[in-house]
């Protein structure tokens, strides 16, 4: 029992990170109907920004932990949003209105570009940070097994919950949210109503990037190591999460992330970790067979 609980904690933490990245995929898909394959690499860039910020803070002797983490979060969100904006402006906006495949290819190109840029400027070696937040609480002991939840895990889950609440509010209750949803439904009509569609799309990219930035900081703090390649695996998993939950649906992305995190943790726990990815993708296929638009996705209605 204690063992299962520990794996549940592991899975939830991992799932929360996947979910945060997945939201970026799902939002962009919702608004312009393309898969932003560079999103995983935006996440990677944010992790590097976080490492740089942590190193700088350490150099200035700022040791107050909440202060340091907040400062790093703000820095990472700021710069990563700038990246998100720039990527959209350079690689996708000029292609809007062309074939569906064109932005997809430029997204893959952007992904390769970002990866190589970081590799060349930061080096291929892994960048570690010393443990930022050590220790945790022992919550339960049974049968010689101590269930431990580390402060980092608590932080990841809390931050994710807060962000989800804030985000739901932003999309459902504010003027920006209404504009965003309007663009999703019909961008031509939205433009006719006097809403700046380009700006809304830019803002969506920046928001997605900001969430990826939070995920990047969390991952940096949790695992302590980043390299220029982390965007790839994380991107694929988060994309899968977005599809599983129903691409275009925000709660779906989070749900998909959590499900994938939990499958991975429990499959590794009770069956062979070797086949964990096989299990994840088999479940994805099963879900898509019965619900082609994902768990919470709306079936697409062909507009005539």
């Amino acid at each position: 029992m204690a063992y299962a609980l520990q794996q549940l904690i592991n899975g939830l933490t991992l799932g929360a990170v996947y979910g945060l990245i997945a939201i970026g995929y799902t939002m962009v898909y919702g608004i312009i109907g393309m898969i932003n394959f560079a999103h995983g690499d935006i996440f990677m860039v944010s992790a590097f920004i976080a490492v740089t910020a942590f190193t700088l803070l350490a150099a200035f002797d700022i040791t107050s932990l909440p202060l340091a983490i907040t400062a790093v979060l703000i820095t990472a969100i700021f710069f990563t949003s700038a990246y998100g904006w720039a990527v959209e402006r350079m690689a996708y906006r000029p292609l809007r209105g062309s074939t569906r495949l064109a932005p997809l290819i430029s997204a893959i190109g952007m992904s390769i570009f970002l990866q190589n840029m970081v590799q060349l400027t930061q080096g291929a070696r892994v960048k570690p940070i010393p443990p930022v937040l050590e220790g945790g609480i022992e919550i339960w002991q049974s049968g010689g097994f101590t269930v431990q939840i580390s402060w980092t895990q608590i932080m990841i889950v809390l931050v994710t919950i807060v962000l989800m609440v804030a985000f739901t509010y932003l999309i459902t209750q504010t003027a920006f949210g209404r504009q965003q949803r309007a663009c999703e439904q019909d961008s031509t009509m939205t433009a006719l109503l006097g809403i700046n569609v380009d700006r809304t799309i830019s803002a969506t990219f920046m928001l997605g990037a900001a969430l990826a930035a939070v995920a990047g900081v969390m991952v940096t703090v949790y695992y302590g190591v980043v390299d220029f390649f982390i965007g790839f695996v994380a991107g694929i998993k988060a994309f899968t999460a977005a599809v599983l939950g129903g691409i275009g649906s925000l709660p779906g992305a989070m749900l998909g992330g959590l499900i994938i995190g939990l499958i991975e943790a429990f499959w590794a726990a009770y069956l062979s970790p070797e086949y964990k990815d096989v299990a994840t993708f088999a479940i994805l296929i099963l879900v898509l067979m019965f619900r082609p638009s994902g768990l919470l996705g709306r079936p697409e209605v062909e507009k005539v």
Partner: protein, 365 residues
């Protein structure tokens, strides 16, 4: 008539001069990019220094060496296209590839083109396929696994040990051999699992190890995953000692795992930096701000091997080189090299090392 003669003589001279100046292309190939790029970097630094030194002494058979660098990113498909590109560049010698899973398919291309290769890949299959162009300047996983597995069984008698690999040709080969050696000495592994390399989260497997009460982990794979496993084990309150293979020589392990790296042991050929004959070369590397760790000295030795073999054979033709390499003994910075019929080193000693405070040294017997 006289004029023509002189002209011809000049032409001939010119042609000869050109021949003498034409460079000999030699190559390295390995992961110059991708997640194991730091190993590729070591190889490149070693090779560059070796070639600069050889050229400073007048090159090989009067010809200067020119280094070609191939990047396979440890991807078997990319390795084959690198190999084809190298064949087109008419290289006469290849040091590489690095990952066993790249070396094996790429070697099929080189053997077709009659290009000799010296590799550090440790999977037994590298030399077991009977290719006549492969020379391995490193030990084999089965020898490495035997040394590592026996060490665990002797040193950690009575403790619970797990065997883990990363599903790569190298990792699985090594892990299988370690498990075999441990079982032979009466220490049956408590767990035998595989993980996926390249991920960041190994908390699932770490929790599993903790549940099973494992204290010693025999790992077949690369250092990046070991660093993550150790950090996550520490967070989960699990104290692990890890035994790995030659890939653990990478100092990136220490940067990534921090103080946890002191729990890592590994097998590797006797440290070339400790070889007194290699001292001047070690010093030259350090003067150039390159620590001659890991594969740096191996890359250097590979080109020494080529230069000596070509000098002995007085030729860079494949048949002559192959005969010279198979028959001779070559003095290199990693010690004297000589090869058996398969192309394996005749005496590939493996030693158990341990990291301590950012340096590795022979582990206590």
């Amino acid at each position: 008539m006289k004029k023509t003669l002189i002209a011809t003589a000049f032409l001939a001279l010119g042609a000869q001069a050109q021949l003498a100046h034409a460079d000999l292309a030699v190559a390295i190939a390995g992961p110059m990019t991708g997640q194991y790029a730091s190993a590729g970097d070591q190889i490149r630094r070693g090779a560059e220094m070796a070639i600069a030194d050889i050229n400073a002494k007048g090159g090989v058979l009067g010809q200067k060496l020119k280094l070609e660098v191939g990047d396979d990113a440890c991807d078997p498909k990319q390795a084959v296209s690198v190999a084809n590109a190298m064949v087109n560049k008419k290289i006469v010698f290849m040091h590489g590839h690095w990952c066993s899973s790249s070396t094996i398919p790429a070697s099929e291309v080189y053997v077709e083109a009659d290009i000799p290769m010296a590799t550090v890949s440790t999977n037994p299959q590298v030399t077991e396929r009977g290719l006549k162009n492969i020379f391995r300047i490193m030990g084999r996983d089965d020898q490495q696994g035997l040394v590592a597995g026996s060490y665990i069984a002797d040193k950690f008698k009575g403790k619970k040990a797990a065997v883990l690999d990363d599903k790569s040709a190298y990792g699985k080969g090594l892990a299988d051999e370690m498990a075999k050696a441990m079982t032979a000495k009466g220490m049956k592994p408590t767990l035998r699992e595989s993980i996926t390399a390249g991920e960041k989260d190994y908390s699932g497997i770490v929790t599993k190890l903790k549940q099973a009460g494992v204290e010693v982990l025999a790992y077949g794979g690369y250092h990046t995953e070991v660093a993550l496993i150790l950090r996550q084990a520490q967070q989960a309150g699990l104290k692990l000692t890890v035994m790995g293979g030659d890939t653990m020589t990478n100092s990136e392990l220490v940067t990534a795992a921090g103080a946890n790296a002191d729990n890592v042991m590994f097998t590797f050929s006797p440290d070339p930096r400790k070889n007194p004959d290699a001292a001047p070369v070690v010093k030259r590397f350090r003067d150039a701000k390159v620590e001659p760790e890991g594969y740096v000295m191996y890359a250097y030795a590979a080109f020494q091997l080529f230069a000596e073999a070509a000098t002995q054979a007085k030729s860079t033709k494949f048949a002559d080189l192959e005969k010279a390499m198979r028959g001779g003994t070559f003095k290199t910075v990693i010690g004297d090299l000589s090869f058996d019929a398969k192309g394996d080193q005749k005496k590939p000693g493996f030693v158990v090392y341990q990291w301590k405070g950012g340096q590795y040294d022979y582990a206590a017997k």
